[in-house]
C-alpha cells in the first residue's frame, strides 16, 4: 500500500516519517517532492572523481556521464519503505535519477545520494525540485536497515569493492 499525500503529512507530524526541512507545498497525491543538494561528484576526463559545488547560476550536465548528487532534505522512515524516483517534469527533459536502484530500505534516514544521468545537456540549479519520494507500508516483520549508504548524508561513491 502506498501512502497518500495527506498520510505523508500526518506521518511527518507524528514522527513516523522524517522530512527536514518539510514544506507542505511539496506534497503530491502519492509522494513528496525533494530538492537537489549543493554538491555533485563525477569522474572527470582523467578518470578522477571531482566534487563541485553547484553555483547559483546553475551547472550544465553533459550526456554520457554519471553524476552523484544528494537530496537537500534529510529523508527517511523507520516505519515505511521508500522509493526515490525522478519527476515526470524533469524526465521529459531527459534528466534521469536512480535509474536502476530506487528502493529506500526501511530504517534509512539521511540525505540520499542521487544517481543522475542526462540524455541531453541540461542546466541544473542548487535546491531545484528534482525528484519525488513515495512511502510504502511493509508486509511482514521489519528488520531496519543500519548499514551501507544510509550512514552518509552527502553524495557518496560506490563501495562495491567492499562487497567482494
Amino acid at each position: 500500500v502506498i501512502l497518500t499525500g495527506s498520510e505523508i503529512k500526518k506521518s511527518v507530524e507524528c514522527g513516523d516519517i522524517v522530512i527536514v526541512p518539510f514544506h507542505p507545498a511539496q506534497v503530491n497525491p502519492n509522494s513528496y517532492n525533494y530538492r537537489l543538494g549543493d554538491l555533485l561528484i563525477f569522474k572527470n576526463d582523467l578518470g578522477i572523481y571531482e566534487t563541485i559545488m553547484v553555483p547559483e547560476e546553475g551547472y550544465v550536465l553533459e550526456p554520457h556521464r554519471t553524476y552523484l548528487g544528494s537530496t537537500d532534505e534529510v529523508l527517511g522512515s523507520k516505519q515505511y519503505a521508500m522509493s526515490l524516483i525522478g519527476r515526470s517534469s524533469t524526465g521529459r527533459l531527459g534528466l534521469f535519477l536512480q535509474v536502476s536502484a530506487d528502493l529506500g530500505h526501511t530504517g534509512s534516514v539521511h540525505s540520499w545520494t542521487l544517481e543522475i544521468v542526462a540524455a541531453k545537456k541540461i542546466r541544473i540549479y542548487p535546491k531545484m525540485i528534482i525528484g519525488q519520494i513515495s512511502f510504502w507500508e511493509n508486509s511482514g516483520h521489519v528488520c531496519p536497515y543500519h548499514n551501507g549508504y544510509s550512514n552518509y548524508s552527502k553524495p557518496t561513491i560506490s563501495r562495491y569493492e567492499e562487497l567482494i
Binding site: V1, N28, P29, G58, V60, P63, R87, S88, S89, T90, R92, L93, G94, A119, K120, K121, I122, R123, I124, Y125, M128, I129
Partner: protein, 99 residues
C-alpha cells in the same frame, strides 16, 4: 496491490478505467499494452534549462517508420487515452513545473 488483466477488463466494462481505444487482445497478465502515437517531439536547444520554456519541433512518424539515432532524446505518447475515474482529479492537480 496491482490489478490483473481480468480485473482491468472488468473495470473498463464498468467504466472505472477508460482506455480509448480498448482492444481485448492488448490485455496482459497485469497490464495493458499501449501503442505509440503518431507524433514525436524533439528539443531544439543545445542546452536545456528547466527555468526556460524549451524550443521544440514535432516529427510525424511516417508509415514506413522513423529511425531513432543513438543519443536521440524524443518524447512520444500513447495513442490511447487512459483514465481512472478516481485518479483524474489527482492527475490534473499534479504540477508540472518543468514541462
Amino acid at each position: 496491490m496491482i490489478l490483473t488483466g481480468n480485473k482491468i477488463k472488468q473495470e473498463v466494462l464498468s467504466g472505472k478505467i477508460i482506455i480509448d481505444t480498448f482492444l481485448e487482445s492488448h490485455l496482459t497478465t497485469n497490464s495493458y499494452d499501449l501503442t505509440l502515437g503518431d507524433n514525436l517531439v524533439a528539443y531544439d536547444d543545445d542546452i536545456l534549462d528547466p527555468q526556460k520554456k524549451p524550443k521544440t519541433h514535432t516529427i510525424v512518424i511516417p508509415d514506413e517508420g522513423y529511425v531513432l539515432q543513438r543519443g536521440d532524446f524524443l518524447l512520444g505518447s500513447s495513442k490511447e487515452g487512459i483514465f481512472y475515474w478516481v485518479a483524474v482529479k489527482n492527475i490534473l492537480a499534479v504540477n508540472s513545473t518543468y514541462q
